[in-house]
Each structure stands twice: as structure tokens, then as C-alpha cells.
Symmetry: C2
Subunit: 517 residues, 2 copies
């Protein structure tokens, strides 16, 4: 069986000691192993701080962008192989796998283009020159420069391809050497991508640690950045980690998110907007088996319309075959790990105690094409909450699987926003309405509680990617429970890896520093 190696200090090393087995979550068949330790992480950090810092520092944004373009091309060149790995190791259908792999390549391409746009410089102006003295002679100018340190990426199990690429696109374009650590259980895609990327990048620009984090955080120092996607529990551990506290390490967190979807009071379910709403809810439940941090977990519909919504959801979900995702007739695969399987079932049980069944009971399912008793399967589950605002298990606990809960409201936009707020900070929430006044009221009140608000309407229904898709041009990250992080959003995504500095002095000197006069 393949023993996955880490790529550290310029070479591949398999580590040592006890091993963890990666399996196919549909069949539980072993796929590969990783060693649980035995890596010289201190040297890896040193390599990043020396070779990586130097090599990336010698490049302009345009040159770094060209590197990212080569990574995107490498993904395209190995696309079928990567899709197959995602299906085998991630429990992904082919569609799910494309979402992860193509999404990763698309994000790299986006940042490649941004690099070209930023051009032959490595310092970014932030705003216009400012007069700070009595005359124009005494000026100020804010700039962004790359942080001098290591970017450490700790990624989640659900997007081994996209997660690697979306963080890497920003850190490399900003000019920070990066150490990426995928979740062990689904590391095959990340591992293969880094095999493809490594020969294309300068020494020290990208390193990979597969297996447990071990002492990964022990070598953090001033100037370093940690970007984490995962659970609130792990996030709390990171926030209180002594190295992060002692060295003022910058930490970006994308954590739990109880994303809401609101059906506006003006929308007929049979309209284009109504159809978009239903399609988005069903897609977010079933795509990646509901394992998207952006998926809709909580749904509000106008009181009196619940039964229509329930019927439409039952109708659409009833036709979805659950089973081995390598089969063409299967529309939804298993969740990624045994641990997730347990957690999702426990979450459903908690929800079930406070809600009514609409579809799928508590997630029991007989998967197709799978040896009896094998695989981490949960069927799609819709629950009904009578009083969604005060349903605690609904609003306080993210069930990271194919599960959603629907409840009624009186159609009031402020109430809908209050319901979004009840999630204590989301990555995204969505509203479906063609009533501009209603949308305006909703947006003003809901925006402080979400990193992104998706506004579904008839005019954009035909070309909408749905709320569950994080686009590189739009901010990804939400306040409060969602972690308070900010990734992507075009140039905004670079801010994590750069320092904003006010330059103060002779205005002509400041101008010349930015390549002017």
C-alpha cells in the first residue's frame, strides 16, 4: 500500500512511527497510509524562512501570478486522475469531485490573473496619498507589503483540492512561503496536487505535511500566519496556543456556520425564483453530502407555505440515489469519515428531539452498490421546526451533513435578518425575493451577520452558482461563530498575508517609493 510522503525542506520524506490508514469512505477499503510523525519540522520552517522567503521575494506579483497559472494548468493536465482520487478517498460523486478539483484550478487561475493585473511590483498602494502636514510637502501613504514569515495552512477534510488552492493562491501571490497541512483522512488529492506543483515552484515556496499536525505549531514565530479551516473546537485550541499568543501570530479562522436561506413572502414556488430556492436547498443538502461550510442549514419560509415546500423537497430528494459514488446512478455518496458519520447522526438525533420529521427520518439509508454494513452513509434529512428562532439545536449546532431544517415566519424582512443573526455569525446566508424593498430591508439588517449574502431573484436565476459556491472574487469568511476570518474576495484575500503600513514623510519620497516621479 502507498505510504504518502510529506514534502519538506525540498524533498519527499515518509516520516516514521505508527501509521494511519486512509480509506474509501463508501467501502472502507484501505487506500494508503501516512506516518504519524518523524518529520523535521524545525528544518522545514527554516527552509521556508530562508529559501522560500528569498525566492518569492525576488518575484513581482506578475511573476507569482505566472506561477499560479502553471499550477492551474498542472491540475487541468491531471484532471481525470485527481477526480478519481476525490471519488475514491472523499466519497465524492464525479460532480462533487469536479466541484473540488475544478474549483481549485479556477481559484488559482483567478489569482494568476490578479497577479498579472497587479503587475511588476511587490508593494501595493492602499488608498491615495494623504496630506498630513501644513503643506502638501508632508505626506502619508498606506502600503501593503508581504509579511516576513511562514504561512501555515491547516485545511478541512471536505475540500482537499479547493482548500489547498484557495489558500495557496493568496499566500503565494502575496509572497509568503507556505506549509500546507491537509486533513489526514482525505489527503490523497492534496498529496497528488503537491506532487504536481512542487517541480513548478521555487525552492521553499510550498511544503506539505501529511499526517497529524504534531509539532507544526511549535515552530511558529513573529511574522507568521496561520490560516485554519475546521471546527470551532480546534479553532479555540489554536486561538489559545502559546506560540500564537506569544509571537502575535496572525490567525485566520473559518469555522462552524449555520447558514440560513430565506424564502421571501412574494415568491411563488413555481416561479423562477421559487425554483432557484428549491434547487439551492436540495443542492446544498446533497452536494458533497452536505459537507460544505457554506451549505444551507436553516430555512425560513412564509407561514402557511411550509407544506408546499415540504412536498417539493420530498419530491426532489426522493429521487436521489445514495451509495457508492463511483457508480453513475448514485447522486450522493457517504460522509468522509467514521467520526463524521457518528457526529452527523448525533446531530440529527439532537435536532430530532426538537423538530418534526419531513423527509428521511434520522438519516438511516440503505446505500446502493456497497458491501453490507460498510461505508459512512447518511440519507438526506429534512426536519420541520415550529418556532425556528428559538429552536436551540437548530441555531446552536452545525450538523455537517445532508441535513436541513425548515420553519415558518411571518414574511417580515427584519425577522428574517434576526434569524440569520441567531446563527451568531455565518459564512453566507441567502434570500430569495423579487421585491426590492424587502431585499433592501433584509440586507441592511442581515449583512453584519454574514460574510456573504446571496440574493436569489428571477433575473439571475439562470446563471447563479448558488450560495454554496465560494467564488474567488467574493469574500469567504464570516463573523462570530464562523470564525471572523476573511479569505478570497480578490485583493482582499491578500491582506491576511501582508502588512498594512502607513508611510509618513516627504510626499515626493513617498511617491518615488511606489514607483512614481
Amino acid at each position: 500500500m502507498q505510504l504518502l510522503a510529506s514534502y519538506l525542506s525540498g524533498s519527499w520524506s515518509q516520516g516514521s512511527g505508527a501509521r494511519t490508514t486512509l480509506v474509501n469512505p463508501a467501502t472502507e477499503a484501505p487506500l494508503a497510509e501516512v506516518a504519524n510523525g518523524g518529520h523535521d519540522l524545525e528544518s522545514a520552517y527554516r527552509y521556508a524562512r530562508t529559501a522560500g522567503t528569498l525566492e518569492l521575494g525576488n518575484l513581482t506579483f506578475a511573476q507569482r501570478g505566472a506561477l499560479l497559472a502553471s499550477l492551474a494548468k498542472a491540475i487541468h493536465g491531471a484532471r481525470e486522475e485527481l477526480l478519481a482520487l476525490a471519488v475514491a478517498n472523499g466519497g465524492n460523486t464525479r460532480g462533487d469531485a469536479k466541484f473540488d478539483i475544478d474549483g481549485g484550478a479556477m481559484t488559482l487561475s483567478y489569482y494568476a490573473d490578479l497577479g498579472a493585473k497587479l503587475g511588476a511590483t511587490s508593494v501595493l498602494a492602499d488608498g491615495e496619498p494623504i496630506q498630513v502636514g501644513r503643506t502638501a510637502r508632508m505626506g502619508g501613504q498606506h502600503v501593503w507589503t508581504r509579511r516576513r514569515g511562514v504561512a501555515v495552512h491547516i485545511n478541512a477534510f471536505n475540500f482537499p483540492g479547493w482548500g489547498l488552492c484557495e489558500k495557496l493562491g493568496c499566500s503565494l501571490l502575496a509572497g509568503m512561503p507556505t506549509i500546507s497541512k491537509p486533513a489526514t483522512a482525505t489527503a490523497l488529492v492534496t498529496h497528488r496536487m503537491v506532487e504536481l506543483f512542487a517541480p513548478l515552484l521555487p525552492p521553499g515556496a510550498l511544503q506539505l505535511l501529511v499526517g497529524p499536525a504534531g509539532a507544526l505549531l511549535e515552530h511558529l514565530g513573529p511574522g507568521d500566519v496561520v490560516a485554519f479551516t475546521g471546527s470551532s473546537g480546534t479553532a479555540s485550541m489554536l486561538r489559545t496556543h502559546s506560540k500564537i499568543l506569544d509571537h502575535g501570530v496572525r490567525l485566520n479562522v473559518e469555522a462552524d456556520s449555520l447558514n440560513a436561506a430565506i424564502l421571501g413572502p412574494d415568491v411563488d414556488l413555481t416561479s423562477e425564483t421559487g425554483g432557484l430556492f428549491l434547487a439551492d436547498v436540495v443542492r446544498d443538502m446533497t452536494q458533497k453530502t452536505g459537507q460544505k461550510c457554506t451549505a444551507i442549514r436553516r430555512v425560513l419560509v412564509p407561514a402557511g407555505r411550509e407544506s408546499d415546500v415540504f412536498e417539493a423537497l420530498r419530491d426532489r430528494l426522493g429521487g436521489i440515489a445514495v451509495g457508492d459514488p463511483s457508480r453513475e446512478d448514485v447522486r450522493m455518496g457517504p460522509v468522509a469519515t467514521a467520526q463524521q458519520h457518528e457526529a452527523v447522526l448525533a446531530g440529527i438525533a439532537r435536532l430530532a428531539a426538537a423538530t418534526e420529521e419531513v423527509f428521511g427520518g434520522t438519516g438511516q439509508v440503505t446505500p446502493v452498490g456497497v458491501p453490507a454494513g460498510k461505508g459512512f452513509f447518511v440519507g438526506p434529512v429534512v426536519r420541520a421546526a415550529e418556532d425556528p428562532m428559538w429552536c436551540e439545536p437548530l441555531n446552536d449546532h452545525e450538523v455537517f451533513g445532508p441535513v436541513t431544517t425548515v420553519g415558518p415566519y411571518d414574511g417580515d424582512a427584519e425577522f428574517a435578518a434576526e434569524f440569520v443573526a441567531r446563527g451568531h455569525g455565518c459564512l453566507v446566508s441567502s434570500a430569495y425575493s423579487d421585491d426590492r424593498d424587502w431585499v433592501a430591508s433584509f440586507v441592511t439588517a442581515a449583512a453584519p451577520w454574514a460574510g456573504r449574502l446571496y440574493l436569489g431573484s428571477s433575473k439571475m436565476a439562470a446563471q447563479s452558482p448558488g450560495p454554496g459556491t465560494a467564488l474567488p472574487s467574493l469574500l469567504h469568511g464570516g463573523p462570530g461563530r464562523a470564525g471572523g476570518g476573511q479569505e478570497l474576495g480578490g485583493e482582499r484575500g491578500l491582506e491576511l498575508y501582508m502588512q498594512r503600513t502607513a508611510l509618513e514623510g516627504d510626499a515626493s519620497v513617498l511617491k518615488s517609493l511606489l514607483g512614481g516621479g
Copy 2:
């Protein structure tokens, strides 16, 4: 003796229980008392969340700006009274007091003007519209909206006037109700300012807690913001506070900062640039008795030039009378508290073990106009470090008093930047040079380690405020040890109190949300 009251839930309350006495740090004469507890903070938060949120939410930026202008005017109207309080309670000379009080009014005026500029809206666009679909129909637009919660300000003892105003200007303009807590020992100025401000502001917009924080953090919830200025130790306590962690409360920290000043190899001490350098070092040592978070702590001068610098510093410092700051002949007062006095003397002792004396020994001084044995006095101290880069007490510990250490370097700009970096993140550092190439090399390498870089040169010497002055138009806050915070910097200062959200949908709907089409 006056018992200072807190302003909570719309009325003044004196609290209860044991009391702390505020003294004149020059004479140790008692000035006022505060109760150590007995406040209903839960109600205060509720009042902010209800009345304060509602009242400020009904205002546009322009209207909030007008409120800030009225606060600045109130300071001007009571200027002499406030200056006298700063002299009595802060150990400030009249010049120090003006720096604090006038600086506060100036910062409020700046944000008043910014409010007028932002105009009759309460939502700010962040960047331009983005096309995210196949056609221009499917768009994205980032916006800033005020966070829905309470802004809690925890201020440092050194700037009871400016500290209140610089945080308040941003939080009120952004639209967040605010609870401000000054350091107890020097609370008289803050207390009086809030007495002046309270009648001018809508209910719930501003509350004041004097005395110990007590349970102030226990009532934090999602959406709240804590802005802290103070020591790294307290900052660590805040970062790991369960309420802040559990609710994803946004925390901004301005903490210890080992700001450096670099004399460029091209600069003659007798030149305009050389004179600026000397004046800035001396001002930062003596203004506010060195108790500025932006003060120069570490100085690099070209090797072979140390003795000239030492002589010039001895000359300038020798003429500075230390004593009761209410006397016109006194140029430097005491430090603010007995605790600070002890800490500064201990810091000097630690420095002394690794450096040579240049001026002022270890800070012993006989103050003028003060009863024998009274007051928290330290004389100005200059130390010399042979190998400044590796002098640990110099680079790892902030001595918050009239103390600076000078060491040699070979004139290399990269080395100078490395020395800035050796502070592990500063609020500000400065370089004095008229050689543009040298300055460019320095800036590129040093910028990632400082929130502000002050570039002293002959062209701006006549109108420079010096590196120690935090201007409202320029970012205040530094990476790493300095806390990683971002305050001021014009509109940038509002970001802490607002949420950035990506809106995604029909481009014409997005445009109409921002008041267009």
C-alpha cells in the same frame, strides 16, 4: 473628596464597596476616589444593545459626524479645566497635557469631517461592482455595515483624553454604542470628558465605567468588539477570555512596542535631518515622561558616530528640569503611578546589566518642587549597546519611561530593517536620511514589521510632528508584539466596528442597495 461616578444605563452611579484613591503622581496627594464595584453592567450592555443600537442606527454617517464635532467643541470649551486635570492626575507638563487633550479634540474633528464626507448613508461600498456570472447581470458588491453589538474600549493610563477620543471617534462614526473604561489611576480627564459628552449624545451611545473592569467582559456576546490598549500581559488575558473565544468577539490590541529610530549613514548631525533626528529622540524620551506607546526605545547610529550622538543627547537632556509638572520651569513630570515607577526602574536595571551608561545613570533624580521622597520620578536615561541586534533586554522588553538605548551599525539599510524586525512588531519606527535609495531599501524590508514608518528628511523637517504622534489619517497599530491591531488611518479605523460582506445577485439590485439606479 470627589467620588467619581460611572455613567451607565443613562445615569451617573457611584458604585459601592471598597475604594481606590487617585493621586497626583508628583506629590502623591489624593485627588479623588472610585468605587471598585457595585455597577449593574448587565443592564448597561442591555441599554447599549437596545437604546444605543437603535439611536445610532437611525443616524447617517453625516449625522454621527456632526455629533463628533459637538464633542470636539465641548473639549475646546473646557480646555483649561481639562489641561489642569491632566497636569494634576497624569503627571503631565502643560505641553504633555495639550498633546493629550488637543490631540483628542483633533481626532474627533477629523472623524467629524470624515462623517460629513461619507454623507447621508449608513452603508459603505467596499470596492467596485464585480461581474461574477457569465454576463454583467450576475454581480457582486462588497459593503461595510456597522456591527450589531457593543464596542467596549479599554484604555491605557497614559492618554486618558486622546485614548478615549481616538477610539470613540471610530466606533461612534461606525454606529456602534460604546462602553469606555479608562485606566483607574488617571481617570479624571476621561471622567470629565464623558461628563461633557453625555448630554450631547443620544441615549445609550456612550457609557463610562470608572474603576476596575470587574465583570465587564462577562456580558460580551456575538457582534461585540473589544478595543484594548495596554500591556501584552493583559492582552493575553483578553485573547484567552472565555467570552471572547466563545462568542467570536472581535478584539483589537495595541500592546508593547519597541519602536526603533535609525540614523541614515548620509546624515550629518548638524544638518536639518540630523537636528530632526536628535529632536525626535529627545522629545520621545521626555514628552509624557516617555510614556507613549509610539516613543523611540531603540536607536541605531552609524558606527563611529556614537560619541557625537551621545554628546548631543547629553547636551539636550542635561537642560531638562524634572519635577512637579505644574511648575513652568519643569520640562518633565513623573511617571503616572507607583507601579509604573517600579516597573520602569526594574526595566532600566535590566537594561543596565547589558549596556553602558551614557546619560542619567539608572534614572535616579531629585525632582524640583516636590516634597522630599514623594512622587514617581525617573530621570531621562540613555544607554549604549555595543551589539544592539543581540542585546536581549533592549529588544525583548519595553521600558515604558524616559529611557532609550543607542547602538552602532554599519549603515546598511537591510541591517537597519532587520533591527526594526528584531522588535518582533512595532507600532512605528523611523529612519532619518536624505538618500532615496537607502530609504527605499529600508522601507521595503522594514514595512512588514511596523504599522507606521516615519521617514525623516530635510524636506519635511520643518513641519514634522515626529514619529511619536499618532495622526488620525494614518494607521495606528502594529504587527506581532504590538498586538496586530489597526486603529485610525481615516476610513480604515471604521473597519474594526463594521462587517465586510459580499453581496451577490442581480447587478441592478446591488446597485439600488447602494443608492444607485
